[in-house]
Symmetry: C2
Amino acid sequence: MEYTIQKLSLLAGVSTRTLRYYDEIAILKPARINSSGYRIYGKTEVNRLQQILFYKELGLPLDQIKEIITSPTFNAAAALHEHREKLLSKRQQLDRLIANVDQTIAVNEGRITMTDKEKFEGFKKQMVEENEQKYGKEIREKYGNNAVDQSNEKVLNMNQSEHDEAAKLAEEINTTLAEAFKTSDPAGDLAQKAADLHKKWLMLYWNNYSKEAHAGLAQMYVDDKRFTAYYDKEQPGTAEFLRDAIHIYTGMKI
Amino acid sequence: MEYTIQKLSLLAGVSTRTLRYYDEIAILKPARINSSGYRIYGKTEVNRLQQILFYKELGLPLDQIKEIITSPTFNAAAALHEHREKLLSKRQQLDRLIANVDQTIAVNEGRITMTDKEKFEGFKKQMVEENEQKYGKEIREKYGNNAVDQSNEKVLNMNQSEHDEAAKLAEEINTTLAEAFKTSDPAGDLAQKAADLHKKWLMLYWNNYSKEAHAGLAQMYVDDKRFTAYYDKEQPGTAEFLRDAIHIYTGMKI
DNA sequence: CATTGACCTTCACGTTGCGTAAAGGTGTAA
DNA sequence: TTACACCTTTACGCAACGTGAAGGTCAATG
């Protein structure tokens, strides 16, 4: 079976320009040139093209593909392993980017609802949101991307009134927590109410609430200095108190 | 505060070439040009550059950044949302690539151990591995990337004897399963032995065995025609029988 | 037989975001 | 004055083709 350039291009789903380019860089030369100067491809070339396209789908650059398929002694396995590493770190980079964009969108939209408040307050909020985001990354590793993406999507699609509700809830948590802290009893009614409010607040941000995640977040409030600073701003020890209350509330310890 | 091009480049951590390029494409013009033709940047330009670099970190192309920061009416939020979508699908694409590379490496290395066997057999094996891979994608969504990556890494690092062990185990599963199938009792000793072998076999591929995942995979053997075809090749109903045995073995139903 | 239209060829520039010379002017300290 | 660090513009290079442009070739049709 012989193919002209267009026949092969139709067969393989690539452009004729691509085939000419592959000829030019000598990764795929035609079997022969006919008397009119036309490129004629044979069975060998079809197979080779399929190989090339396969490796290309894997994201390998053409020069590496060339080495793989031209040199029979070339260590394809090593090349693939190396490429795998690159893809992995690329995905990590992408994850960071996505988290960053999510955060930026949130901050941008938050800014709109925040114009009346002081900048300092805004910064504090942003700080916590940032960390919430970081915790998101940990969830991401434990429960997969979809959960976090959906949750972030949820925040991004919140309307003004939902934003307001979240702010009101956050405020309510703070006052209730402050009252509860005075009782020194994380199992008491007030503390448990704070934990419950915190759950309600969380559910505005998370699509799928789980006790494990709630308890885990509570622990992070203690472990991460920036969270601790936020919750301890009025009374040192509040973050720890909240964690204890949530652990009792969820019946879980991390 | 005024900056020459190099001062600004040192401050911002970009090359002077970059700054000249930004001047050229009019995304960041210097505040003024001094009598010698030098570019002089001021405070405004520093801030603007920071904005540019920020959006660049998000992966936005320069022309879009230009629109965002030059047109005050430009809908930055919409642009970010759109960009977010792009990043998300990019990551999906990356996930596919990684799975594909993993698979290719496995097949490549599998081929070496398979040279003696028939091609047809090889194809069947490849088919099942492919699906195992697909199931891997479902795990990925449920348990995050790390688990699957580690598991694949494990396969990739298996040596010859481990490969052989896997093949032997697979063979043993098949014969045991065939015997067990005759008893028609998925709770019987033989069937439970098959399930246990299957677990051992799985543990060669998965880093973290869990009853849920094992039971889930068993269910997939019935749901996915290609798995079913593989296990039913001698006796129709074997895939279903194996699922029942595993569900009893794990004490779980999906 | 000539024409038409599909197909082929070889240039060659455009894309993105700069890196990297090359060739030459400027500022300042020794 | 000389050296040296700094500045300028110009322009090619990179990856992997897309997209014309200008011009030959082939098969079928009027």
